[in-house]
């Protein structure tokens, strides 16, 4: 009854295998199909998120946000995309060309690769790695490398400062992030995302109720991971004039821009899977539950951005190492006792 997409996919899968193609070809097609679907889903989400953030920030500040392109400006992101696409992609002369060229690619690819093992709905996931959560955190640290590459290769003082700062920030917030997630893994005894979601059938055993401190630490560390508001030091416009992506323009800048929003959605999707019971929910189809919860977390993170001032670099580090980390350890110890 609940319009599950997974049954539809099973029908397509059976039809392909019934074509009598060799086994390896069938797997290949299925994998490419899954990848294509996730790619399409990711781009749709980016389009929606960019528009949504501009409308939300508008209404937070008592203005309307984009209104001119289509009804309430829903074509705005497409217009931005076209503009960035046809803009001249300037590569400054004094720039280390290869590193400069590959930095945005790595940034976008690493945050997109983590979409592979997100459980979008009931048996609706590209792959179910048994080391799901570890894979996601491992892949997303590539972003740090790309920021350093961008900062260093742009041969520009401000970009260098911005790159260094963002690398230091993401590396140091990686630690409380993983520790807060360990609390959940201790309870579910498994790294696989599907198993984690499986352990949260009923609402009362969602991990947000069993691990509230873990959820809070995760949320704070996640906003820091995506370089967004109170922690958006790398492109602190006032001090460093756009930080590491000063020299980028055209599609390269678009790649960084998209990577940021992909990261934002990824972080909230992982939060939903770990703490808000993934795709479990009463009436609506499972994938819709997953998207609604993810967009709620995205709303909270956007909400932070438009309310809080920015922390200074050393305060940000001290907050992480001297405040968030001990809290994460405490949370892990409590989780250890709780789920013996």
């Amino acid at each position: 009854m609940r319009l599950e997409l997974s049954s539809l996919l099973k029908v397509i899968g059976d039809w392909i295998s019934s074509l009598g193609l060799p086994v390896w070809l069938v797997d290949l097609i299925e994998m490419c199909g899954a990848a294509a679907m996730v790619m399409g889903m990711a781009f749709l989400i980016i389009l929606f998120l960019v528009w949504w953030e501009r409308k939300l920030s508008g209404h937070f500040q008592q203005r309307l946000g984009p209104m001119r392109t289509g009804w309430h400006g829903w074509l705005q992101t497409i217009a931005d995309g076209i503009k960035l696409f046809q803009k001249e992609d300037i590569i400054p002369k004094t720039v280390d060309r290869k590193v400069f060229y590959w930095a945005p690619v790595i940034c976008f690819a690493s945050s997109f690769a983590a979409f592979a093992c997100l459980p979008w709905g009931k048996n609706l996931w590209p792959t179910d790695l048994n080391i799901g959560i570890l894979y996601i955190f491992a892949i997303t640290t590539f972003v740090v490398i790309s920021l350093l590459m961008a900062g260093w290769s742009s041969n520009n003082k401000y970009a260098l400062l911005g790159g260094m700062r963002s690398a230091a920030q993401i590396v140091s917030y990686e630690v409380p992030l993983t520790l807060s997630v360990l609390g959940v893994i201790v309870a579910t005894q498994s790294l696989s995302m599907v198993a984690i979601v499986g352990a949260q059938e009923k609402v009362y055993n969602w991990f947000i109720f069993r691990q509230p401190l873990g959820f809070l630490i995760y949320l704070i560390a996640a906003t820091a991971e995506t370089n967004r508001a109170p922690f958006d030091i790398p492109e602190a416009e006032q001090e460093l004039v756009a930080g590491f992506n000063i020299e980028y323009s055209g599609m390269k800048f678009a790649m960084f821009f998209m990577a940021e929003f992909l990261n934002l959605f990824l972080v909230s999707a992982v939060a939903v899977t770990l703490f808000l019971g993934g795709w479990h929910g009463p009436f609506l189809p499972s994938w819709l539950w997953f998207l609604l919860k993810a967009f709620f977390i995205v709303f909270v993170i956007i909400w932070f951005k438009w309310t809080y001032p920015r922390l200074r670099v050393d305060q940000l580090m001290e907050f992480c190492w001297k405040f968030l980390l001990p809290l994460a350890f405490l949370n892990l110890i409590v989780a250890g006792f709780l789920f013996r």
């Binding site: 937070f60 909400w303 438009w306 809080y308 405040f323």
Partner: protein
């Protein structure tokens, strides 16, 4: 820690901040979508300078007395005139360079004959600077539809030609606002008008 803060009051204030922004999320937007919705300009707002003309006869009120040109701080008003046969000044050309004009309204206050006025019009941007210098006809066209109440005159103004520099500073300039009774004894034109 650079700032040792009681954590609880910190969290409380963070939440208060969130509540303020959320409250504004649902309040009505105050912005105006410009080309479609326009701001009703107050009638005193000082926009482009125009020359007013008599409703019936249609010719300019201006008697080429050069008071506005003297009063202008940026010398944006250029007037050429010649002495007509009946000893009165006739105006040849009157141009205002809108790229120099600073829209201060001193010319309007200096004019004794309601000839020049700043109207609430503001959309006159162009691509090239020379076209910002408006000549007499353009100023007159702009001023056609501008409503103004001519000043009450005690005796018909016998505007003697040699106008000494009398910048009439004082008294409300725009006709609509209540004029105060500032009797400014000027030797030339008789002007009064009490509120």
């Amino acid at each position: 820690m650079a700032y040792d803060l009681p954590v609880l009051s910190g969290i409380k204030n963070l939440l208060i901040g969130l509540w303020v922004t959320l409250r504004h999320l649902f309040s009505h937007a105050v912005t105006l979508q410009y080309p479609t919705e326009r701001w009703p300009m107050p009638e005193r707002s000082r926009g482009v300078v125009v020359l007013l003309s008599n409703k019936e006869t249609g010719d300019l009120n201006c008697t080429a007395c050069m008071l506005c040109a003297k009063a202008c701080p940026c010398a944006a008003i250029m007037i050429e005139r010649h002495r007509g046969d009946d000893k009165k000044w006739k105006i040849d050309s009157f141009s205002v360079d809108n790229s120099i004009c600073c829209y201060c309204g001193l010319c309007e206050e200096a004019c004794n004959f309601d000839a020049i006025k700043l109207t609430p019009k503001y959309e006159f941007s162009t691509y090239d600077k020379p076209s910002l210098t408006y000549d007499m006809h353009r100023l007159q066209e702009l001023g056609r539809d501008v409503a103004y109440t001519p000043r009450v005159r005690k005796t018909p103004a016998a505007a003697t030609p040699a106008m000494t520099a009398t910048t009439e500073a004082g008294g409300a300039s725009t006709p609509m606002a209540p004029r105060t009774a500032t009797e400014t004894p000027t030797n030339s034109s008789e002007k009064g008008g009490s509120a």
